[in-house]
Amino acid sequence: MNFPDQSLAVEANGLVKTFGSFRALDGLHLGVRGGEVHGFLGPNGSGKSTAIRILLGLYHRTAGSVRVLGLDPEEHPAEVTRRVSYVPGEVQLWPNLTGQEVLDALAGMRGRYDPVAERRLVDVFALDPSRKVRTYSKGNRQKVILVAAFAARTDLLVLDEPTAGLDPLMETVFSSEVRAAAAEGRTVLLSSHILSEVDQLCESVTIIKDGRVVESGKVAQMRHLASSTITAAVPVGRRSALFESLIRLGIEVPGAFDPGTSETSTSDATVWPLTIRASVASVGAALGELLAAGADSITCTPATLEDLFLRHYEVLAR
């Protein structure tokens, strides 16, 4: 089951996909190491689902190269998908079959699944498999496909918005199953808009926009490179000197030159609330300046995935 030597389970280089004149992917690069949980983020219409479908051989690429589990999905679509569990973004199932019959059909066609794991997953996801699919809610349809995906004996899980429709309790179950899959050595490519979920589960992420990668790497490293947010309560009488010191460090101080922030302002307050963003290189010096200025209630928060992500969200409709 383990992908050998932590080499790349998914590798896409210069991936281009056009639909007529529309360029859905524009030279996308994606690398997912074997055994890791990799977040795949991007605004709506950024090309995530298109990229996933190319990885599974469901779409043909216009240009570029792709290897999934060492194989080209366009050349060997069946060989690739036999080793991949896929949860699509929109789950539609056969309405006249029961949940169990859908699980049986998918497992039977794949030929590689773990019946014990399936029973356990049906229990933990609290799924009633004897009900006909047409009576299922969106969340229950999602559960059927999640059970099928986790119970299949595959090396790679490709999950496109897998928790859409799940309640918070089931989201927790999902997270623990992803961790268990990763612990077994399975690779997980997780496309999601729930940033807290990605933040908790993923070791690395790729953020794409307009069909191109805008950020990619280990989450911890990306946090490290991004600005931290520092808040403090600064004595009013020391503001001007502190601001000058911070500006000398290259830190932007919001409202530093507003008339209300000078020592001669008529406000009765004795402390001034301050929020600044400092790069990893200047955090230490900034904290030192704050302490020297007698600042109180100092907090320093590293960048969240949300911070990393939201700055790429401002996009034109595609």
Binding site: A78, T81, D104, A105, G108, R110
Partner: protein, 527 residues
């Protein structure tokens, strides 16, 4: 309201236009065909007398009045099919405007956009009424154009026939719109609506055969018998149907106002503990379409038996030279009317079965669009697996259905038609149509694989082939053109060229089409 009506039109226009066109074409082709069928007035009178005393034709079409003008014969025989087409179309449209919109959340969107359930229901019944009017108008105009040119055809009769077709449509449609709110799924609604149409046909048959004439007032399928177009033209006899339409529409709207989204009065079993033992795409496809195939087998076999039951009088008329032209004349006159009649009836059955097979093969496209194909593909199946499964199951089922139908037809035929080779002729008349059917299936597969966004093209070979074979002779289309149709090239068929050679060509074309389709589908994106 107008936006809703536009939405209904946009969602249904393609198949609605096709059905309205069929009604128009049948109405236009009918009168001249019946005018040309019999060589002399004496032949027509004899055929009319035979039909009036034939229990089988009475069961199928009702009572034929005297003197049996072409207009009367058209209304009696083809009018029965026109009302049947209108009723089936009404069932499909009513389900599409009610339960299906509930299932796909369109009603929820509408309610969420400020539309009341009453508005939605009123729009649905208004659309049904408007469609019924258009279908009736198509029938009236296409038939009425022969006024003064064909004996027995006049505008009054054409108007009454159009009204019969329109009211059959609206009564059936309103009844189905009401039922669709009581049953849990669109499939159940369509099945129940279809069953009611079948019950209506049976009531009409019993009423005419009995005769128990009052029974005719209970069935929308008996409106033609009641009004008797081109003879008595009883417009006022249709007033109860109009009142029924209005009453059913009011009840349907009233029920809709008290109907929660996705709710139903009747419930089907929603739990089942069975397991599904499938290991291939073939197994899954068989499981998904087997119910449709069982129903198709039953209906096509019943059609074959019906044709066999009706055959004795028709073959007798052809043998004695009473039939010389028209649709029947073009198909069954010649050296051996018996054999030709069975090939003709087999061709009709093959056309019906072809329509079912086209819907089955193009199901691949619908599965791709709905995302179901994605699940199948992601289990490690090849890109061509789903189409291959639909193809194989459809091809195998079609030969099985034709064989069963052929046997059923042959058994009935031997009991009602004298002759030594009736069994063989009846069996071959049906079974020999398989190469034509296979080619229709292959053409549908090519369209599915190559141009899934233009799925309607899958119907073209069937429509063109069927029209050429059935109507080519009537419209004096050259033989070499009629020969291009895939239908009728049986051992002793209705096509100009018959025998093993054309059958072999059909099979070669089928093989080429299937290979092309399977090769192409692997090179395109999922639809």
């Amino acid at each position: 309201m107008s936006a809703l009506l536009q939405l209904f039109w946009r969602r249904n226009r393609s198949w609605m236009l096709a059905w309205i066109l069929i009604v128009g074409l049948l109405s236009a082709a009918g009168p001249p065909t019946y005018a040309a069928t019999y060589l002399t007035d004496q032949d027509r009178a004899a055929a009319t007398s035979a039909a009036q005393h034939n229990a089988a034709t009475t069961v199928l079409y009702g009572r034929l009045g005297s003197p049996g003008t072409p207009g009367q014969m058209f209304s009696w025989e083809l009018g029965t099919f026109l009302t049947l087409i209108a009723a089936v179309m009404a069932v499909l449209l009513a389900v599409s405007l009610t339960r299906r919109l509930d299932e796909d959340s369109t009603f929820e969107l509408g309610r969420g956009s400020g539309l009341s359930s009453r508005t939605l229901a009123v729009a649905a019944v208004a659309f049904l009424c408007a469609t019924g009017f258009v279908v009736g108008l198509a029938c009236t105009l296409a038939t009425g154009l022969y006024t003064g040119k064909i004996n027995g055809v006049d505008w009054a009769g054409a108007g009454v026939l159009g009204l019969v077709v329109a009211l059959t449509f609206t009564v059936t449609g309103m009844l189905t719109a009401l039922i669709a709110q009581l049953v849990p799924t669109s499939r159940a609604a369509a099945s129940t609506g279809g069953a009611l149409v079948a019950v209506g046909v049976v009531i009409r048959a019993v009423a005419d055969s009995g005769p128990i004439l009052w029974l005719r007032w209970l069935s929308p399928m008996a409106l033609r018998s009641v009004a008797d177009p081109f003879m008595l033209d009883r417009v006022m006899a249709l007033a109860p149907a109009l009142i029924e339409t209005v009453a059913l529409a009011c009840v349907a709207v009233a029920v809709a106002q008290h109907h929660d989204l996705n709710a139903s009065l009747l419930h089907s079993a929603s739990h089942r503990s069975s397991r599904l033992h499938v290991h291939t795409t073939y197994g899954l496809v068989w499981r998904l379409i087997k119910a449709r195939l069982y129903w198709t087998t039953a209906l096509v076999a019943m059609g074959g038996m019906g044709f066999a039951y009706l055959g004795s009088a028709t073959i007798d008329n052809a043998r004695t030279g009473r039939i010389g032209g028209g649709l029947l004349g073009a198909q069954i006159t010649g050296t051996d009317p018996g054999t030709k009649y069975f090939v003709y009836s087999g061709t009709v059955l093959a056309l019906v079965l072809s329509a079912v097979t086209v819907t089955l093969v193009t199901q691949t496209i619908r599965d791709e669009n709905s995302g179901l194909a994605e699940h199948i593909r992601s289990t490690g199946t090849r890109p061509s697996a789903l189409l291959k499964a639909y193809l194989l199951v459809t091809l195998a089922s079609s030969i099985l259905i034709l064989t069963l139908t052929g046997l059923a037809t042959a058994l009935v035929a031997t009991s009602v038609i004298p002759g030594d080779q009736v069994f063989g002729a009846a069996l071959h008349g049906v079974v020999d149509q398989w190469p034509a059917l296979a080619l229709v299936i292959a053409c549908a597969a090519v369209v599915t694989a190559a141009i899934p966004r233009a799925a309607w093209l899958a119907w073209l070979p069937l429509a063109i082939g069927g029209t050429l074979t059935m109507l080519g002779g009537v419209f004096r289309v050259p033989d070499r053109i009629i020969d291009l149709s895939m239908f009728g090239h049986t051992t002793s068929g209705v096509a100009p060229t018959t025998g093993a050679a054309p059958q072999l060509i059909l099979l070669c074309l089928t093989a080429a089409g299937i290979m092309l389709a399977l090769a192409r589908i692997g090179h395109r994106d999922l639809a």
